[in-house]
């Protein structure tokens, strides 16, 4: 089963990246996430536990990139 990284969007949800966790280069996946965070401020959450994660591992199959929130 493929793993995917997705985010909420005005279209509902959008898949940013889909990969095979068995064979994917996880360094590359984490690099992609870091670049996405740098650009949008979104941070990765594991949709299996609801917890924010620092690094994605092969065990995580669904990562939600959660966008920043402002008050006011």
């Amino acid at each position: 089963m493929n793993a995917k990284i997705l985010t909420f969007s005005s279209d509902g949800d959008t898949t940013l990246l889909e990969y095979d966790p068995a064979t994917a280069d996880m360094e590359e996946v984490n690099k992609v996430i870091a670049e996405y965070e740098a650009k949008t401020g979104a941070q990765p959450f594991d949709m299996a536990t609801g917890e924010r994660i620092e690094k994605v591992t092969r065990e995580q199959n669904e990562i939600l990139m959660v966008h920043p929130i402002a008050g006011g």
């Binding site: 909420f8 969007s9 949709m47 924010r52 966008h67 402002a70 006011g72």
Partner: protein, 195 residues
């Protein structure tokens, strides 16, 4: 006398021929106009569809570009998630339900109650209220509004985003309550837009 009749006949024939020619021209013009108009309409329609599709593709490509993986890149699957708007709405609701379950929140009216430590948050669209010291009868109640940087999110996804962030980092409420207009990442760091 004969000459006069011939002239009259010629005159009648000319009028008749001119009228026929005009009718033929008008008919031809109508046919040409119909083809041109239909073609133009079809072209406009195609262009509108292409624009709508391009908008979706652009959004994904934008994501791909800053990720440094072009659309041609094999590793990247940009096939999200277009499809039926009703389907998308249902998926958004499904995500909210999942996040409600993950965070242990409970639905209350049009909002959700979330207990984190000794605080209880009530989250609804764009507003969050905090009750501190659940066991303290003099507990303080504060409210602030919030909005995700992605302003076009459906309401349920705004709520899901807030629930997920508060469950992981309840101190975010204090940052939002300052209402400085600053956006905060889930870990509490200020997010300033990339140039």
């Amino acid at each position: 006398m004969n000459r006069t009749v011939a002239a009259v006949n010629f005159y009648d024939g000319a009028i008749c021929m001119a009228a026929t020619t005009l009718s033929v021209i008008a008919f031809l013009a109508l046919i040409v106009w119909r083809f041109v108009f239909t073609g133009l309409r079809r072209r406009l329609f195609d262009r509108e569809i292409a624009a709508a599709q391009q908008q979706h593709i652009n959004f994904l490509e934008q994501g791909l570009q800053f990720l440094g993986w072009g659309a041609a890149g094999n590793r990247f699957e940009n096939g999200s998630d277009g499809g039926d708007p009703i389907d998308r709405k249902d998926r958004a609701k499904t995500y909210l339900r999942r996040i409600v379950a993950l965070t242990g929140a409970t639905q209350m009216g049009n909002g959700y109650a979330l207990d984190v430590g000794t605080a209880r948050f009530y989250v609804r669209d764009r507003y969050v209220r905090r009750l501190r010291g659940l066991t303290d009868p003099k507990r303080a109640c504060e409210e602030t509004c919030f909005y995700p940087v992605h302003k076009d999110l459906p309401e349920v996804e705004k709520i899901a985003t807030a629930l997920l962030q508060l469950a992981n980092n309840p101190a975010l409420f204090d940052k939002w309550a300052v209402q400085s207009g600053l956006a905060f990442k889930a870990d509490g760091q200020v997010f300033s837009r990339a140039p």
